[in-house]
Structures are given as C-alpha cells and as structure tokens.
Point group: C2
Chain length 245, copies 2
Amino acid sequence: MTRPPRGREDEVGELRGAMQRTGRAAEKAQLRGDERSSTTALVSRGDARERLIRATIDLSWTSSYGAVSVDAICERAQVRKGSFYHFFASKDDLVVAALDAHWETRRPVLDELFSASRPPLQRLARYFAHISERQAEIRGQYGRVLGCFHNTIGSECVQRPPAVAAKAQEISLALRRYLETALRDAQAAGALPPGDPVAAAKSLSAFVQGALAQARVHDDLELLRQLPRTGWLALGLAGPPQQST
Amino acid sequence: MTRPPRGREDEVGELRGAMQRTGRAAEKAQLRGDERSSTTALVSRGDARERLIRATIDLSWTSSYGAVSVDAICERAQVRKGSFYHFFASKDDLVVAALDAHWETRRPVLDELFSASRPPLQRLARYFAHISERQAEIRGQYGRVLGCFHNTIGSECVQRPPAVAAKAQEISLALRRYLETALRDAQAAGALPPGDPVAAAKSLSAFVQGALAQARVHDDLELLRQLPRTGWLALGLAGPPQQST
DNA sequence: CTCGAACTTGACTAAACGGTCATCTCCGAC
DNA sequence: GTCGGAGATGACCGTTTAGTCAAGTTCGAG
C-alpha cells in the first residue's frame, strides 16, 4: 500500500552486498552513535538507500553529474526527497557514495582477473577481453557505450565538488595499481623487459582509458574489440604473448 | 562611460580571426536576411560575441558544461543577459559556437604540425612534443592541467544536448583525420609496416586522448612529458624514429 | 538630418534547483 | 504494551536557472 510496486530496474551488476555504508549517511547519523554495537541488523530491511545509489549510477553514467538532479534520482529510485536527505547529507555525498559502491562491485571482478595465480600477462589479456565484453553488455542494457564510470565523472568534476573529484582520483589510482602489480610480476617473470612498472602502468592505463573514452564519445565498440590485440602495444609488445604457464 | 573598462582577460590563443559567425546567431538573425550582401562590415566593431565565446571556453574547460551558467559567462564576458540572447539562441548554441571557435584556433597549428612537407613520423613527433608543451602552458595560465577541450565536453555531453554532442564528435573525428593521413603517408614511405591506417589512427588517438584525460583528472603532466617517447608504442614502434628526410 | 538595423540594457518570468522540516509510521528491544 | 529510533513523507523555502522582452542607444548609409 505505502509502496507502489513500481520496482523493475536492477540493471547491471550486483550492488546489494557491496554497499556497507560506504558513503556514510547524513550528518545526524554521523553526529550520533552510528558505530553502535551492531546487535541491531547492520543491513537494514529497506533498500531505499541502495535504490538511490543504483539510480545515481545509472543516471549520471548515462548522462553526467551536472545533468542529473536530486529530483530525477528520487523519482527513478521511487524515494521521496525527505528520505533522500535522511540517507545522504547532500548530492555530492550521494555521488561519492555511488562512486564507492560502483567501485566495490568492480573490485571482486578485478581481483579475479588479476589473480596472482595466473601468469601476469594472461591477467592483462583477460582484462582486455573483459573490458570489451562488458562494454558490449552495457550497450545492450543502456542503449549506448558508456565507458568508464569513475573516469567520466572524474573528468567532469576535476574542479567543482572537491569530494567527488578526490574520490574519482582515488578510484582511478586504485585501478592503476592492478596494472602496476601485473606489470611488476611480468618483469620479475621475465615476460616483460625491465623498466619502471609505475610508468608503464600509467601508459597502459592511459591507453585503456582513452579507448573507453573514445568508445563513449563515438558510441563505438570497435576500438574495444581491438583491445586484446592492440592493448599490448602500449607496453612495447607487438602482440599477445604466446606462452602458457 | 557606457562600458566600464574592465577588460583584462585574453588568456590563451588568438581567437579574433578565427570566429566568422560559426555558431550562427540567434533565431531572429537566422529568420531574417542574415546572408545579406555583406557590404556592411561583416566583422562587427563590438567584440561582445567574441568575449562570450572566450568566457565560455575558459569556464567550461576549467570546470564543465553543466557547471557553468549563462549568468556566469555573461559576468565574465562583461556582457548583459539580453545581449547574450541577441547573439545566441540558447546556451547550447553558445557552447557549440565555442567548440567551433576553439577548433578553428587549433586547426592552423595542426596544419603546420602535420604539414605534408615533413616526413610523416616527424609530424607525429612534433605533435607529441606540442601536446606536452601546450598543456604545460595551460597549467601555467589556468592553474591546472585541463586536457582536451572538445573531448572533455564531448564525454560529458554524449547524451544531453544533442547539438553539443554532435559537434564534439565531429571535431574529434576531424582531429583523428590528421593522424590518419600521417600514418598513411608513413606506410607509403615505408617508415611504418603496412596495415589499416584508420585503425592505427584510432589506436593512437585513444592513447593520446587517454593521456590527456588522465593528465586532467590527476593534474599530472608526467604522462604528457613521456608522450614523445611512449606515443610510438601505440603504433608498435619501440621508440622515436631516427631517420631524417 | 533621417532612417533602419545592429546592438545594448535591466527588469522580468516560470520553472527547476538543492535542501529543510515537522510529523507520521513501522518495528525490534525491553 | 510501550518506548525509542530508523525510516518515510509531502509541503515548504530561498536561490538559481535559462530564457524573454519592451525600450533604449549607437552608428553607418543615403
């Protein structure tokens, strides 16, 4: 009765488990004892907060931070304005939480792709393939290629809401660290000539992020499909490695 | 008297000559005979229009399309709101004109850098060096690295104002064509192994644009300084070419 | 000098914006 | 059963937004 049964979204990844109050709720919740003994259910029954974050990701990824209003987010999430400000202190707070939540859904995927149990260059190979497949999926669900969420937001918000800018930077660095580790391991294994893995990761990251950005602007998957072949170029390799182990 | 002597901007490039009513003025100007015999001075004495475009570039490049209001642009340009809508039909119109005007200032620079009178790979070498130097200049003038104007706007506006999205796409393609031509010439000259120059240009463009985007997000010039060395990787070359002619 | 068109101006609007708040409902703990 | 706090609600506020407009001013052409 109170809630009209309008829910029919839930488009992309599993968000549910990944959100453990990352964005820390509104001021009230902070000022008082939010770190209470947790005998009470830590994961609340209602999922309004999750729906808000889901809506924020969907809307600001498909358009932009600036083009999405709190009202639009609330409408999509089927949450009233007042409830919104119960969970988040401001729009900036929401977007930071959305960036966090989205990153938390990506992390386990990256952990698997970059598992140390695989040969380092194979990690990259699977990463390239994954990006291409994932953006194809996204295009199917959202109707167009969207590229990288945190980088899109980050490029838009370099200056204006400092908290958002900082969060986007942080995530961008965290992502780069996966590449860095793989490259270092590759050098140690002799699969890659010695050199500065940090610089190489920057270079590779620029290539991948550039491909994603171009794919977004032109709604073109072609570049990403080529990634498993061309991605190696940024490392000075002519093509994908052939060794197995 | 009528105009308080507040002008003291004029920060980056020469915009003056490059703006020949690219953005086509407001509806009134379109509906009536704007294509009149041009015996009257085509370039008007007042530079309000140019100041508006200059302000738009500065403000939306340093922050974003969505974060800049018409009021802010007018204030910076020292132009009243009414005058604004005399020259432009809408905010979108302004931004499209700004993208156009900015591109017009870049074009002669690119024409020189990619002059057919130089060996093709040397064109690229000079392009890489130019990007690095230019962004360093921009950082000096604007206080931070800004990356690529049309790509920043384009990534933000992929969806929302269709005219802006289309213009950004168009410019992005135009830029890529410079690379394409150079790569084709390089292959013809035997300086590069044969292959699809369109795909190679996409690849190289992704790398360069990615480096610029990363430089913007992290306010970091390092990646761009490395461009003259690492740019070649995206083409499968280990380093800058040594030949002269 | 006169005329018309380019240009300028500031006051104006309606809508949208982010954010607030008193009040109510629900539900587990005691 | 009752108590307290998390959650939910819709009316509300002041500001800012893009865009309008009637009434000017400026100025070159005839």
